[in-house]
């Protein structure tokens, strides 16, 4: 099994979710995170004090998949989340020994 982790721009999340659903991904886990990288943040002003906010909001998606599907999933995410502008994010794949569905105790493929 593989774990595909994607960090993307918030407003792209919805398209990614739809694309993955169409492809057949049955579930995923999502969280709000902050990104630091080439994309620069913004400046805020409060009573004349200027603050540079370096972090930018991102959406982090975790998908456990079969080895077979991993590349497709990555491809779909990259295709859908791409805007071409700095800060589009990263996707990485890492190995998973096993995954279990809590409700049933089913393992691996049948757990997804």
């Amino acid at each position: 099994m593989k774990l595909v982790t994607a960090v993307i721009k918030p407003h792209k999340w919805e398209d990614v979710r739809e694309a993955l659903e169409t492809f057949g991904v049955a579930g995923m886990t999502v969280s709000e995170v902050s990104g630091y990288g080439r994309q620069k943040g913004h400046t805020e002003v409060y009573r004349g004090a200027e603050y540079d906010i370096a972090l930018v909001p991102k959406i982090r998606i975790e998908i456990v998949t079969d080895d077979a599907d991993a590349d497709d999933v990555v491809g779909i995410i990259v295709k859908t989340a791409q805007t071409g502008r700095i800060g589009d994010g990263k996707v990485w794949v890492s190995p998973v020994d096993t995954v279990v569905r809590v409700r049933t105790g089913e393992q691996d493929a049948s757990a997804l």
Partner: protein, 438 residues
């Protein structure tokens, strides 16, 4: 007297504001974020239902004539025969009915079906509050508490606070504890709302207490006496209301500090309300020394009383019993000690050489209020429990009553790290639906 009248216009608006939004905020802030809207709604709907009902029969039952418990509901039905230049006095009394009913809601947080509350309100107003208002405010010789017993209650220690407190206690006993109480954490979700609410309640309370002046003569009969009373009595009630509250804040924080090592902001907000509750019946009867004493005692005792529910095992969620019942009793009884003949009632309490007479009357008044409200509230609550039911479905309670009963959640704020506050997941989710359906 147009000055007095002008004050009543403002005072009435103030007291209505005490329920919407002040009490709703005070209670809402103490609720959990999944039930704050329902808590606020209970106050808002109380205003609408009780308010219209008051104009229909409430005024008549309270001020429509003689009666030990209540006057003829149809004497002044829908203000028939009441001239518009008296409307403001009707409105003022109406706001008392509204807030008394709304006060109860704090006890039933998170688990009372909204439909049950909507049915409870009119029944409780007609069967419990309107009569109680006659017994205390609609003072005729035969009205029970004010007339027959002759207990002093300037602005509603019995009719409002003891009444609401007892009703709250009865209701929670019949309703049962919240799932997970007291094991789970059920901490206030937003104390800034609670402190805001406490502050607004305090402001409104000046309308509540100071506006409760009852004149010994009409302006037309004796303008000078009328105005003299206006100046001297409102000065007294304003000062007493203020000083008792100061003392209660200090009293509460002191006890908290001793019992738990910390003086908390929720304690300060609670002390404000405890002090205002306790001085409500006594505002006209005592001097500033008595006001400070009553406030300090109420603050200190209530700070301890709010823990009783853990010992006795009733889930009075936002401490309506610990603050309003206990505070109301303290204020009403202490009049028996601190009442001064120079005050509005002209009665000397024990500490002012008046003997035990007043103390007895006050105690009797309290007992009548507790008994009347307790018994009849129980009847109403049981009737609802065994018909439409009181309690929310378990899973709905866990997921939050706001969602279950109102289809809403209070906040959509996104985490602190979300920079520009772009809507992130919250926003996207909706698109994951077929979007908005309207």
């Amino acid at each position: 007297m147009d000055g007095y009248y002008a004050f009543m216009l403002v005072a009435t608006a103030f007291v209505l504001m005490m329920t919407v939004p002040a009490l709703a905020l005070f209670y809402g802030g103490m609720s959990r974020s999944k039930s704050v809207l329902n808590m606020m709604m209970m106050s808002f709907i109380a205003a609408a239902i009780v308010g219209i009902l008051y104009v229909a029969v409430g005024w008549s039952m309270g001020f429509g004539g003689e009666g030990t418990f209540f006057a003829n509901p149809f004497e002044l039905f829908w203000l028939d025969g009441v001239t518009t230049d008296n409307y403001i006095y009707v409105m003022f009394q109406m706001t008392f009915a509204i807030i008394t009913a709304a006060l109860i809601s704090g006890a039933v947080a998170d688990r009372l079906k909204f439909s049950a509350w909507v049915v409870f309100l009119p029944l409780w107003a007609i069967i419990v509050y309107f009569p109680m208002a006659h017994m205390v405010f609609g003072c005729t010789d035969d009205s029970l508490i004010c007339g027959r017993i002759g207990a002093q209650d300037y602005a509603g220690g019995t009719a409002v606070h003891i009444n609401a407190g007892v009703a709250a206690l009865v209701l929670v006993v019949l309703l049962g504890k919240r799932i997970g109480w007291p094991k789970d954490q059920m901490r206030p979700h937003n104390l800034t709302l609670t402190m805001l609410g406490a502050g607004m309640l305090w402001l409104g309370w000046y309308g509540f207490n100071v506006g409760s002046i009852v004149f010994g003569t009409t302006f037309d009969e004796d303008p000078d006496a009328f105005l003299a009373q206006f100046y001297s009595e409102t000065g007294r009630t304003f000062a007493n209301t203020t000083l008792a509250t100061f003392a209660a804040i200090l009293g509460w924080l002191l006890i908290e500090r001793l019992l738990h090592g910390k003086a908390t902001s929720l304690g300060a907000a609670s002390g404000i309300v405890a002090g205002l509750v306790a001085i409500t019946p006594a505002a006209g009867a005592v001097d500033i020394g008595g006001a400070v004493a009553i406030g300090a005692i109420a603050g200190a005792v209530c700070a301890w009383a709010v823990s009783l529910k853990y010992r006795l095992g009733y889930d009075d969620s936002l401490d309506v019993v610990g603050v309003h019942l206990v505070g109301g009793i303290i204020g009403t009884i202490l009049i028996g000690l601190f009442s001064t003949s120079s005050g509005a009632g002209g009665i000397d309490g024990l500490f002012y050489g008046g003997g035990l007479g007043s103390l007895g009357d006050q105690t009797l008044g309290v007992l009548v209020a507790v008994a009347y409200s307790g018994i009849l509230t129980a009847v109403i609550a049981l009737a609802i429990k065994y018909t439409i039911g009181l309690r929310l479905d378990e899973e709905d309670e866990v997921n939050g009553i706001d969602l279950a009963e109102h289809g809403e959640t209070a906040y959509d704020l996104h985490s602190g790290s979300s920079g520009g506050g772009s809507s992130l997941l919250a926003a996207s989710t909706s698109t994951s639906s077929e979007g908005v359906k309207a």
